[in-house]
Symmetry: D2
Subunit: 140 residues, 4 copies
């Protein structure tokens, strides 16, 4: 299992008139969680794209348990439960507030493609990323 924690401060822009974070904005928090999770391995998503691989999201599932409020310092927990086997990566993502309450839990699935959209051909995870992830998933 590979798990990282990232913090995000709720912006005024992200609230709505219900005085909570708009439900669509968690997708951005999840994005930040995934990107920092990869950076934590010494790889940036930016470099992956520049190396010719894109990772569009193909599925997102979110459960909203408690609202996040303006100025909350949120902790985003991002988890890979297995070493991505093929061209799919599945992230489990949870958002906690400062008192440790779980606000939102999500699951986001991405697929790896070659950047050249014309071909629409799937690819595998970059070798350096697989290599850095492997130690977190020892063979049983």
């Amino acid at each position: 299992m590979y798990e990282t924690l990232t913090q995000v401060r709720v912006r005024y822009a992200e609230t709505d008139q219900m005085n909570v974070v708009y439900y669509g904005n968690y997708a951005q928090y999840f994005e930040v969680g995934r990107v920092e999770s990869i950076r934590n391995l010494g790889v940036s998503y930016k470099d992956i794209e520049e190396a010719g691989v894109i990772m569009p999201v193909v599925e997102m599932h979110v459960k909203y348990l408690r609202p996040a409020k303006y100025d909350d310092l949120l902790t985003i927990k991002t988890t890979l439960r297995q070493l991505p086997p093929e061209h799919r990566i599945e992230f489990f993502q949870e958002v906690f507030n400062e008192s440790g309450k779980l606000l939102t839990s999500g699951r986001v699935v991405l697929v790896l493609y070659f950047l050249d959209a014309a071909t629409n051909e799937k690819t595998h995870m970059p070798a350096n990323l697989t290599e850095k992830l492997s130690p977190f998933f020892p063979a049983k």
Copy 2:
């Protein structure tokens, strides 16, 4: 079954550097679909809120099949498959492009609360909304 169609033009702001609509922005398109679906019954979501009822989203599930592009005129299909039985409403939502291709399909669940957040008490759907929806769901 109650089904409505609404159109949304993709804004430049909604694209990302993958040259497609950012995955988090569909939540806004779904919101527009739901709001217009209710307005089509002669009720505005704004009036519901002003009457003291809020409808926070408690679940969202999205499948991204094909990307939406800048300036696409999207059609959002919003469907209620049953008359909301209790204090939950479940919307099925699909996004099509101009050539009728299904781009995204989603399911969004909302719960009805009294606006006074302090009580955190669930409520039922406003009577006028139930009344206007009923003809679409004849008793079998």
Copy 3:
């Protein structure tokens, strides 16, 4: 002078906890106003980009007079006061609510570049756009 009107319905996502449209979101309304202003001439901004010209914004000035509220049907008035002389276009933009009150007024300046960012070379307005705009600016 060339002037067009476009309508935008305020989304829940665009409000903030002050119960008004977040000040940063007017940039999107202005964008919609400009794009529809050009489309009204029979040219789409998308086509301009695909023909190899981009129009990044270099200045924006906004005065916020009155707040826009959730579900307001806003009218965006977009005005060109002169035929863009060189590689700069200056749009005057105003946002009105349904009762005709001026909410926001802005001025946005764009510059025309060749899409190939590497060269960073300025260009002129596409000929078809100039041609279609000319009748609105008769020589005095």
Copy 4:
């Protein structure tokens, strides 16, 4: 003069298909800069609102000099050039990239109101904020 620096990492969501940060998103970066500038004095904007004062933006002026790119770690410099004299506060805001290049410069004017929107009455800056700002603006 009172000046603070804050950092913001560019999110994928904030880019557009021109491969740069969408021009409207700088309003959010400016907001982060102002909020952290106030927090740096030991006062949170959230507390100001909860004490019954709101600070809507009445003017924003932005010059876009160079684009910010995805994953850039931006530095936002927020400056008060004078102790806010009445019920207006004027912030000067600049955005720099990691190599110290100035990307964007802005000026944002806010007005202080009592939260109770019904009265629409202007107010002064909270006393604790004035007190903490004063040392930065010695009488000449």
